[in-house]
């Protein structure tokens, strides 16, 4: 694709809108066209890793247990919303929403890994794949004869990506893990939440953060390994991502501080330990006092950022706090814990008779950075995310209209994209196992009857 000459008349924003236009994604090529990824994964960490590659155009084949699929399909809030059918064999059940977002654009195949015939199928597919992603307990696939030690002999170019909780070696290698355990033991959980002196407790990052973000870390490493294979060495590799390790990597200044001074970073609630004002305050009034949904009757919250001296001075003027303006004019005084304990309550007192939108209007008028704390409904209906294609109505070929998240970044020439949300268990058995693994119609029928696929 030749570089277009600069159109001087075009504003930068128009240029961006055109370059990243979500409606033009399908007229552009895909980065990982022709790359095949096997995703032998369950829950979120492994599946999301493979899905980021599927967003880039790789042919990702997700392999699940026959009939009922993997555990995440049976996970949904309060056990209420489901997408039907679960599979052609179990049409009366559905796939839970826990599965949505972790497996877009993939092909769905069912194979029983426990059986020799199933393992032989995995080997056939792995011989023709570029990437192999799995997140079973360490050593399980090795025991089944389809681990890195065996597959690298069949396919030395294979990039074998293992993801999991604690990693496959060391004293804790046999421990099972989930996202929430990764957060708990990695260290970000204990730091998040309301301050101890305000009666707070450690708080979980509500998303399956260690899983979904861990999957990105896995995918990043896979992309680097693909580049190294294709342009340097020709060799595959084995990558090990421990999600608890990933979380520990995220702790910012906490480890340097502990190492040097023996001081343990504590919770500091919705404020910031390094900048003031740079925190979230409560606004006394609900934005929707007449709503029939009790959730919307809750008071609003807003993030305010005015940590430079001149910004803080404007903030104090806007909220009528001349005492604070003088007392805390300097950043190095303002940032102290005791100062913050006085400043934020004063701001909340001022905001007690306002909605978050009213507070935002005052901040905007005074050129002070702010961001109302939006709930999922407010985000879903905001034109910004819609125009940018970050959240979009997907006409899913199997399940119909669905609001769905799009890839987390944009590319002008080869945009990652969303094609479908998911498919039923084993939906692509005939196509993949027939065309890629060479099974005849009779083989397929027999294996299906034996519940091997």
């Amino acid at each position: 694709m030749a570089t277009q000459p600069i159109n001087k008349a075009q504003s930068f924003e128009e240029f961006c809108r055109e370059s990243f236009n979500p409606k033009k994604e399908f007229s552009k090529p895909e980065v990982l066209k022709g790359y095949r990824v096997l995703s032998c994964t369950q829950y979120i960490l492994g599946p999301s890793c493979a899905s980021y590659l599927a967003e880039l155009g790789a042919e990702v084949i997700k392999i699940e247990a026959p009939r009922r699929g993997e555990a995440m399909r049976h996970t949904t809030p309060f056990n209420e919303p489901f997408l039907y059918p679960l599979s052609r064999w179990v049409p009366e059940r559905g796939t839970g929403l826990g599965f949505v977002g972790a497996n877009p654009n993939e092909y769905f195949v069912s194979i029983d890994f426990h059986r020799p015939e199933g393992q032989a199928l995995v080997k056939k597919l792995a011989a023709k794949s570029d990437v192999f992603v799995e997140n079973y307990r360490p050593g399980t696939f090795d025991r089944w004869g389809i681990g890195y030690r065996q597959l690298k002999e069949i396919n030395p170019r294979l990039i074998y990506c293992w993801l999991g909780g604690f990693g496959g070696w060391g004293p804790g290698r046999v421990r099972a893990s989930y996202d929430i355990l990764g957060q708990s033991q990695g260290g970000n959980f204990g730091m998040t939440g309301k301050q101890e002196y305000l009666g707070g407790a450690p708080a979980k990052h509500t998303i399956w953060l260690a899983d979904y973000w861990g999957g990105m870390m896995g995918a990043t490493q896979v992309l680097a390994a693909l580049y190294w294979r294709d342009h340097v060495s020709g060799e595959g590799t084995f990558t090990e991502y421990s999600q608890v390790h990933g979380v520990t990597r995220q702790l910012e200044y906490a480890l340097p501080l502990y190492g040097k001074h023996g001081i343990t970073r504590e919770r500091w609630g919705n404020w910031d330990t390094q900048l003031c004002v740079h925190g979230i305050i409560k606004c006394g009034k609900s934005s929707y006092p007449k709503s029939e949904n009790p959730q919307e009757l809750e008071e609003g919250y807003i993030m305010i950022s005015a940590y430079q001296d001149q910004d803080f001075a404007r903030l104090c003027k806007a909220v009528g706090e001349s005492t604070l303006a003088t007392k805390y004019a300097k950043a190095d005084v303002r940032i102290k814990a005791q100062s913050q304990m006085e400043i934020y309550p004063a701001l909340e007192k001022w905001a007690a008779d306002k909605t978050k939108e009213q507070v935002a209007a005052v901040m905007d008028a005074n050129n002070i950075l702010n961001q109302p704390v939006w709930n999922a409904k407010e985000v879903a209906n905001h034109p910004h995310w819609n125009e940018r294609g970050s959240l979009r109505w997907l006409d899913d070929p199997t399940y119909g209209e669905l609001l769905h998240q799009a890839p987390g970044y944009k590319m002008s020439a080869t945009p990652p994209r969303l094609k479908w949300a998911l498919k039923p268990v084993g939906a692509d058995n005939e196509r993949i196992l027939g065309e890629v693994a060479g099974l005849s119609a009779a083989d397929l029928k027999r294996l299906e009857e034996q519940e091997c696929i």
């Binding site: 930068f12 809030p77 929403l97 973000w213 340097p256 190492g259 910031d272 979230i280 993030m303 939006w374």
Partner: protein
């Protein structure tokens, strides 16, 4: 007021376990796989191996924002040459330190220049040069540097660099192979483009994350931010994926770079799992549910005797094992759970009142068990469990020390620094730490001489004009 000078014991306070201790008593067969992994993954072997991205040169021109630094760290840990381009005097983030405490900062032995732990922790394998792009001469130098770069990352206000003649549209004319990445909180185009925002938790608040984190109001909770600038981390990871994808496409197909954009808010929107699908089905606003989970029971953190304890096991196999463990000490609790018809089916356990009952009864057991005991008892049953660890415990956790999730770097500038190591463990091209932290502009001489052929005269003139 000077802080009291406490004597801090060297890390680690408790020695790290040795392999023969870790694998003692195991059969050869049981040992074979973990020892194979050790042989291919042990970080001690990292420097015997090549780096995946050693051919890549990255100019990280972002300042005052974590997303760009996090992004370039992902690339530098995997071997890219990352040059941090800072304004003269340094990135303002260098000055950040918790509660403004100067004594928490790290000091360059030679010049006395201080740097906060936050910035230092991301300055891994990066060189530092100074360049004032607000001057015409600075921009001219940037254009010259761009010729030599594979990747540029910047986070100026939307359109600023374009207006200055150093944006994507202009730099691609100079270097068509350049991958140009803009990072920010909400985006450089679209209705919110002119709503400024620098650091997280702006993005956390804008995407639904803060609203969804913390206890429900009825439980005394409120929307809660991550203690970390977490959305900037996730956004930086997204940016790194986009850059690597662009690199692969350039090398495989086009020979040309492209424009990449990543924002902290959209990165979190991508991973806010079923929030959007649920809303689209019946208009539900995903509620805050504290340390419990809307979709799995048992899967929660609850108070225990000495802190907070995670216990997980939503499926029958684990569910009954958990209650058997509890029943060893509280038979009546196990009996109550097993006898409740409404807790028989996995699906029925998810109703809110059933979760309340579950965790109330589990709490009976947890209140008498410290984290270590609870974990030991549940682990016997292969139930995923563990305490919420604080940083001092993370730093000393035996498994983490053994695997070097935490390590100490002895810096020629700053002395010993405890840090979180890269999780990019790998057989052939592992990520690694080569150095941590550089004083502001430390690499000016090297980079400007090596890439642009600067002379001593150039340095003197440009320093005087505050260009570098």
């Amino acid at each position: 007021m000077a802080a009291p000078q406490a004597k801090v014991a060297p890390w680690p306070a408790v020695p790290t376990a040795k392999p023969e201790e870790v694998y003692a008593g195991l059969s050869d067969q049981a040992k074979a796989y973990p020892l194979f992994l050790e042989s291919i993954l042990r970080p001690e072997h990292n420097f015997e191996k090549p780096e995946a991205l050693s051919r890549l040169r990255v100019l990280d021109c972002t300042t005052s924002m974590m997303i760009g630094h996090w992004c370039s760290s992902q690339l530098s840990e995997l071997g890219a040459e990352v040059i941090q381009v800072e304004p003269p005097g340094g990135d303002p983030l260098r000055k950040l330190t918790p509660f403004g405490r100067q004594e928490y900062m790290f000091e360059d032995k030679e010049t006395g220049e201080k740097v906060g732990g936050q910035f230092l922790h991301e300055m891994r394998n990066k060189s530092s040069i100074t360049l004032n792009v607000e001057t015409e001469e600075g921009r001219k130098i940037l254009r010259e540097l761009a010729v030599h770069a594979d990747v540029i990352i910047e986070n100026a206000p939307p359109g600023q660099w374009d207006e200055w003649g150093i944006g994507y549209r202009q730099l691609r004319e100079i270097n068509p192979r350049l991958i140009y990445c803009w990072v920010g909180q909400r985006g450089q185009w679209g209705p919110l483009k002119d709503k400024p925002g620098m650091l997280d938790p702006i993005a956390q608040s804008a995407c639904g994350f803060v609203h969804g984190t913390g206890d429900p109001k009825e439980f005394g909770g409120q929307p809660t931010r991550s203690a970390l600038w977490m959305a900037d981390h996730v956004g930086g990871s997204c940016a790194a994926m986009g850059i690597l994808a662009a690199l692969i496409y350039r090398e495989n197909v086009s020979g040309e770079g492209q424009f990449v954009e990543a924002t902290s808010a959209e990165a979190i929107i991508r991973i806010l799992d079923y929030s959007w699908a649920w809303y689209s089905m019946d208009g539900s606003i995903r509620p805050r549910y504290g340390n419990w989970d809307l979709a799995i029971n048992i899967y929660a953190v609850n108070p225990c005797k000495d802190g907070y304890m995670m216990v997980g096991g939503g499926h029958d196999r684990l569910w009954y094992r958990i209650w058997r463990t509890v029943g060893d000490e509280y038979p009546a609790v196990e009996e109550e759970i097993l006898g409740d018809q409404r807790l028989r089916e996995v699906a029925d356990r998810l109703a809110h009142n059933q979760q309340v009952k579950t965790y109330t009864l589990l709490g009976e057991w947890l209140k008498d068990n410290p984290r270590a005991d609870a974990e030991r008892k549940l682990s016997k049953q292969q139930v995923a469990s563990g305490g919420v660890l604080y940083v001092n415990e993370v730093a000393e956790y035996p498994h983490f020390k053994y695997r070097q999730h935490v390590a100490e770097y002895d810096s020629p500038h700053y002395g010993k620094i405890l840090y979180g190591t890269t999780p990019y463990q790998q057989h052939k091209t592992p990520g690694r730490l080569k150095w941590l932290g550089r004083p502001t502009g430390y690499d000016n001489q090297d980079v400007f001489r090596r890439l642009l052929g600067f002379t001593g005269e150039d340095f003197a003139r440009l320093q005087k004009a505050h260009v570098i």
